[in-house]
Symmetry: C2
Subunit: 355 residues, 2 copies
């Protein structure tokens, strides 16, 4: 229900969907990002309030809220408001709000209804799509960036897309979302990739492509919900991207997730040329486009540090480093296994070129 097509729970008719879902709920809890302009939250709460008893709890969005103690706060709130199995949780915010709030909703009374209203580009095209919820353990926070170790698979009944909420984003946040859009475009290939390559990473340019970008992820997830196979292709750029992000954080320098992923994609293209026979001219063109769009250099560590981070990544089993490479745009190998030596050589080449 609440979907434009049978295949999708993504919709720009979010107000209608929210109103209808609220009317079916015994009560509603809106989990809002306190960084948002107040009238965003008020608008959402007002729609729900017309239909059902509605409560609000806010968190200052950011990786720091993805802990069990914040989840407990949500539980407590649900408890106090007398939430039951017919209650609805609405997450209004970026990916950390949808990840944490989604986890709480999926585990409260073994699952209450859930709606995501993502307010960042990154959340719209990625975090809020595909039913993964996740938080970090206390220990991992100290570890750096081994994220989302605790989580569930749980689908929201609607993901509402409202471009207006993006207006409070700064350039870096938009660039971060764009990184994931680049990933989707490469996975899809064809016209969508060509369209995105014509655009600059700013809100006005990207807005028309947001829903089609999100639908690329949605289609992949539909075919492989529990990540047994193809869903792993969504890790394109993430093996190296996570490592870059984590190393940057260790130095106290915050690198936006999608920007790290964009750099990860640049490396994946380099590796795909060497290992998979990806066309060099096409790779060059793509790499130049990505690097010039980021418009900032990258400070990267040596291969040893990167390897160490990569082999701790949660998707890796028995110490292997698994990566996603490409044969061509739209053609993906999602279970490439790195040999350390080979990786080291390629990494140093990449570093020489971009660092």
């Amino acid at each position: 229900m609440h979907s434009i097509t049978m295949e999708s729970n993504l919709t720009k008719y979010w107000e209608k969907g929210l109103s209808m879902s609220s009317s079916q709920a015994s009560s509603v809890l809106v989990i809002a990002d306190s960084n948002l302009p107040e009238h965003y939250t008020k608008e959402v709460v007002d729609i729900c309030k017309k239909e059902s008893p509605t409560y609000m709890i806010s968190f200052k969005g950011g990786e720091g809220i993805k802990t069990l103690s914040q989840v407990s706060e949500v539980y407590l709130h649900l408890e106090k408001m007398g939430a039951d199995r017919k209650s609805l949780v609405v997450c209004l915010g970026g990916g950390t709000i949808t990840d944490m709030g989604g986890f709480a909703a999926s585990t409260y009374k073994r699952g209450v209804s859930l709606i995501h209203l993502p307010t960042t580009v990154l959340a719209m095209v990625d975090a809020a799509i595909g039913g993964k919820t996740g938080i970090n353990t206390e220990m991992q926070v100290n570890f750096g960036l081994l994220k989302n170790q605790i989580g569930t698979f749980y689908n929201p009944k609607m993901v509402g897309i409202n471009h207006k909420w993006l207006q409070s984003l700064n350039e870096e946040e938009i660039l971060s979302g764009w990184g994931e859009m680049v990933k989707h475009a490469l996975l899809k290939g064809g016209t969508h990739l060509k369209d995105l390559m014509k655009l600059s990473p700013n809100l006005k340019d990207l807005s028309p492509l947001l829903i089609s970008s999100a639908r690329i992820k949605e289609a992949i997830v539909h075919r492989d919900e529990k990540e047994i196979g193809e869903r792993a292709s969504l890790n394109l750029g993430h093996t190296v991207g996570h490592a870059i992000e984590s190393l940057a954080r260790d130095k106290g320098w915050e690198m936006k997730h999608g920007v790290a992923v964009a750099w990860g994609i640049v490396f994946a293209l380099e590796a795909s040329v060497m290992k998979m026979g990806f066309d060099k001219t096409t790779a060059d063109e793509l790499q130049n486009w990505i690097v010039s769009s980021i418009s900032k250099g990258i400070e990267v560590d040596g291969a040893d540090a990167v390897w160490s981070k990569m082999s701790h990544d949660k998707k890796n089993v028995k110490g292997n480093v698994i990566d996603v490479l490409m044969l061509a745009p739209g053609e993906v190998i999602w279970d490439f296994v790195w040999e350390r030596e080979e990786f080291t050589i390629l990494w140093e080449k990449f570093r020489g070129r971009y660092a």
Copy 2:
């Protein structure tokens, strides 16, 4: 896999199943009840150790371990041992171990493999069957007995049944498991009910019926995993049973879950005669059998206190009190809605008869 039939993951060939699952796992964590004789745990750990790196963590089983902080301890242990998506969690203990350990396994990296080795009658026929995991929130602990508010649906790949583990149980614990067996027998009716009625609630008598009792629950759950309909019939005796259990606990008197459920069933039979035309002679016979098997009186509160507890039960929506009544053995109404006045009259009658 590991099942005797395609329909069931219950098996008495638990050693083979455990060994095979361990060999497929990258590592194993055994979560054991420290109340158990040490050689039970050693036997299990030894089987796993032959096949895969194996770690052990123990908790003193009991409702008190069903908290987020104990779950965190399990997460931390999994983290430290380098668990990945191919790791296996083995829960050896009663229902509080399988509930809490199952929740941890279902949420660590969005789910690792899980095996339950239940060591109480209650866990064998009920808690370990059907894929519900659950913990209590801190707040609920103070509330009394509003249990399992946080949880997931997550199926173990095997539930291993070993009668020998039951030998460390005392009479009360066996009686508690028998209460759930009575429930299954009433839901099933026919020969299984007749067989159970011939037996006393002691281990020797009950052992041959354990697997068939568990399979009754398993079959109901298979038909309705997410509790949209029929699974609710498993709440027979639980609406009132939970209230009795909770009121007893408020007085500092611990009443075993299954014993409270048995009393709940006695009341449900009383109500079924009045509201559903359940045959009075059959009901009398069943009530006499149950009450004489419990062989202890019951101390119960007035209807107001019971109603208040019932209307806070998690399965109830919008303040309604929903209950399970019966037309006859094997024929169940799982969505009966109580009117308070009617309940009060019946409750006082029940109280007069048994308190």
